[in-house]
Amino acid sequence: MADTITATHISGHADHHDVDYLHDGKGLKSWLTTVDHKRIGVMYLWSILFMFFLGGVFAMLIRLELLTPKQTIMSAETYNKVFTLHGAIMVFLFIIPSVPAALANFVLPLMLGAKDVAFPKLNLFSWYIYMAGAFIAIAAMVTGGVDTGWTFYTPYSTTTDGSVALMTFAAFVLGFSSILTGVNFVATIHNLRAPGMGWFDMPLFCWGIYSTALIQVLATPVLAITLLLLIMERTFGIGIFDPKLGGDPVLFQHFFWFYSHPAVYIMILPGMAIISEIIPTFSQKTIFGYRAIAFSSVAIALVSFIVWGHHMFTSGQSQLASAIFSFITFFVAVPSAIKTFNWIVTMYKGSVAFNAPMLYALSFLLLFGIGGLTGIFLGAVSVDIHLHDTYFVVAHFHYVMMGSTVIAFLGGLHYWWPKMFGRMYNESAARVSCALVFIGFNTTFLPQFVLGSRGMPRRYYNYLPEFQFLHQLSTVGSWILGLGFLIMAGYLFASLRKKMDAPANPWHSRTLEWQTASPPITHNFHEIPTIGGGPYDYYRPVGKGRNA
């Protein structure tokens, strides 16, 4: 491929060469019709941040309601709807698209030395589908709400009132957006790497996103058909999932978790991918065990498809199936631990700088450690029988989803913010906010492990008086967390009003996205970069690296 590149190919579009992507075209229309992956990434970013805000408000309401054992601010019916909306928004509208569709959309082609993703129009189309899904979801909230929990378990979801069909349809539509993003990224990574960039010359972020995209392509279609079956079940009473008509509700759970367990890895793998970028950069050291991390991403993606039954140990699934699923579940720990050890060893004898992105990465290591290890409790059938559907599970998946994915997302946001918008944020404020988020998060969710192990069931509106102290602690934690996010919003928005001041490479990273201007020009690079080394060659002097 490399020999086909000639000067004529590179020097097309000379007129765009010096304009950064933010100023290449003005007005709303230039954004809504753009096919530039960077602009689409930014549009995704604002969309998901809005959804994060919305889901966050619901979370604060849940915690506020649980301040007292009886009714505090809302009725039980409202409470059911609020926690359903919190879950559905956070999962389908925020976390799943957060890193892949927003950050990776922006960064991935830059890291590969490409001008764009493989299918730019499809990329824009998938954003419109996302927006359509978001509007349908909001319509479902306004027209009656949903009280099934984000998992839409049958037979409750086929019998309850409310806009279940509409919300399910929203998730169906959002699934298509996710599929198209996945298709786009797999094709991009296969075919658009810069000349000379082999698979093992890619930054590890690309490996993580590649594994994620594989899951998006292979698992999401099953969710689509499951949700369609659920809609048909509600409309026509087909009976596939309805025991009253001879159907099998456990089958719904199989179908649902065939997607939704891999989806958990759609959420965590990109988070891990970000950590694999931040740690070598802020340690100024080659990542330890590149291939081990790369392969463990793919391994996690593959194993994720054969463990879904561990969500169903108490569902009436056969004991044989439970035993098999439990056994395989422990294998997930192996690649996850490989990654964690490699990240820690990367820092060893590095020159570690504690900037905000690195603080998030270190928080990630701690919180993912707790989230991952408590997952082993829940993967064991005998323990899970007792902990299933308690606050222990709630705490566990929040440690993984929020403590790991969201923290990594925030790390990535702070890491690439100067690249995306060409402005540095207030570093001290960022460190304070990171500390508040970390403290707030642990105050919110650490007590929930205790609550769960003492028998507090999840999704309950009322609770026994002896649980009140821990619930109140958790609620106070949510306020600290909220404060942290408020400060973050403050300094990030403030940075946008400044003049552009970010250097091309503020963190002295060696990956390709930092070798172009901040913010990048529309076509990413003045010349297609050629690759002559690994992405983390910090042992080479600056300027003598891969892109010299």
Binding site: G12, T188, L218, I225, L229, M232
Partner: protein, 219 residues
């Protein structure tokens, strides 16, 4: 075709972020195959549900399938296979710069597709008339036999309905190809859309190859 006009075609259809037309073609094909993989898994979910429920209610499945006309099903299979053949011929002629034959074969494909839908329409209206409807609309009193036939027809309408929807999308896409082929957009240097929509159309055929014995031929 001269090498100069090749370059013109290459230049005209190559998007800026690809270095060569080959790279663009490879990428488009990979993208299409990834999309087809999602289609297979989506239909596959239905197949799995269908198969598992068949294991639980074999009598209902056998009773249900007796209401399907396997002759019409077989005729439809033949229609789709022939349309797949004319589609692949259209790709072949597009790749060898034979414009009128490309358009003709696309036309034949369309004709078979419409014939398929016409037969589907006959089958559906027949079923509606006899009360062979999905789920709670199934008129068991009229039909008789095991009540889980309602579930069988739920699957039947879901599977053939989604498949029929894909045929409909295929018709729109092939019509669009005909317009473009007639305009002279395609040549041996560039016929990617014909190739990709061809792949899609073959997948629609491929899924029917499984649907036909699963639905019509249970004994």
């Amino acid at each position: 075709m001269s090498s100069h006009s090749h370059e013109v075609a290459e230049h005209r259809f190559r998007q800026h972020h690809f270095v060569t037309a080959d790279q663009q073609l490879d990428t488009s094909k990979t993208g299409m195959w990834l999309f087809l993989a999602t289609e297979i898994l989506m239909f596959g979910g239905l197949f799995v549900g269908y198969g598992l429920m068949q294991g639980v209610y074999p009598e209902a499945w056998v009773a249900g399938h007796h209401h399907l006309d396997r002759v019409l099903g077989a005729v439809n299979t033949v229609f789709l296979l022939c349309s797949s053949f004319s589609m692949v011929m259209a790709v072949h002629y597009a790749s060898t710069d034979q414009k009128s034959k490309t358009v003709m074969n696309l036309g034949i494909t369309l004709a078979f597709a419409f014939a398929f839908l016409a037969i589907k329409y006959i089958e559906y209206s027949h079923k509606f008339h006899e009360g062979l409807l999905p789920g709670r609309y199934f008129r068991l009193a009229e039909v008789g036999g095991p009540p889980q036939q309602a579930m069988f027809f739920g699957f039947y309408f879901m599977m053939t309905g989604i498949h029929g929807f894909h045929v409909l999308i295929g018709i729109i896409l092939i019509a669009w190809l005909m317009v473009r082929a007639n305009r002279g957009d395609f040549s041996s240097a560039y016929y990617t859309p014909v190739d990709l929509i061809g792949l899609y159309w073959h997948l629609v055929d491929l899924i029917w190859i499984y649907l036909f014995p699963l639905l019509y031929l249970i004994s």
